[in-house]
Amino acid sequence: MERIPILRLRDCLLVTIQVDMHDQLALTLQDDLTELIVRHQARGVLIDISALEIVDSFIGRMLSNIAAMARILDAVTVVVGMRPAVAITLVELGLEMPGVRTALNVDAGMRLIERALEEERQAGHGRSKG
């Protein structure tokens, strides 16, 4: 079956969406990510959508679902690289993505994940690393 590749970097999962996904492919990605978060005890999920020319309500819902699922599994999700035209269109479409953190690029996204995890450690929440 066709799949979007997921990379693992230390305790983070990285996804770069490079194709125009049909709906089933998006659902498969959602399931694969959830499974890998558990299998690798991942703490961060970084999704690079800089190649995506649009985000419609289906993809928006997928991103929200991934963030919600990751949250339950004690991982932080950051979506990076949203194109300005996509962001403008999302607002007009009326799509909000609760729980989805965003950053401009992969570097900023990784820093955001690290900072969020560091804050949790200091607050004494979340799993201990290991």
């Binding site: 125009d20 996904m21 049909h22 709906d23 089933q24 020319e53 649009i54 985000v55 419609d56 309500s57 289906f58 928006g60 819902r61 194109r83 300005p84 035209a85 996509v86 403008i88 269109t89 007009e92 479409l93 009326g94 799509l95």
Partner: protein, 134 residues
């Protein structure tokens, strides 16, 4: 109003929905829409094509590159012979869905275009025409 070019696409599968997005993008670029307006058109087309496939049981979309002496535009007509929509006003409400979606396809795509016309009759089908001027 002059139709400069027209093409009809079948919408039966998820891959067809992808093809509608890609064709819409190519046409919008060719007509000379800005990047933001191309994105709005493709997003609206994606929402309506998915509805045609999912709720309408498949159908067609007609793309038309149009001109009205002062401006150019893209018109798209999505048509199916599915169950139709009993209460159009409710279906056009943000968040209303019968399919577990976000309920933003109709209301949202309406906001993304200049003209939005919907005809639907229970048991006969649904036809939605959108138009955006460049």
């Amino acid at each position: 109003m002059v139709v400069l070019k027209a093409e009809s696409l079948t919408i039966a599968t998820q891959e067809d929905v992808v093809r509608v997005r890609q064709t819409t993008r190519a046409w919008a670029a060719e007509i000379g829409f800005s990047l933001v307006n191309q994105t709005k058109l493709v997003t609206a087309a994606s929402e309506l094509a998915r509805n045609t496939m999912l709720y309408g049981g498949g159908g067609t979309v007609l793309l038309e590159s149009i001109n009205d002496s002062i401006r150019a535009g893209l018109r798209m007509t999505f048509e199916d012979e599915g169950p139709g929509i009993a209460d159009i006003e409710t279906a056009l409400t943000d968040g209303y869905t019968t399919g577990g979606g976000l309920g933003l396809g109709l209301s949202g795509s309406k906001r993304l275009v200049d003209e939005f016309n919907i005809w639907s009759e229970p048991g006969r089908g649904t036809r939605i025409t959108i138009l955006r001027w460049r």
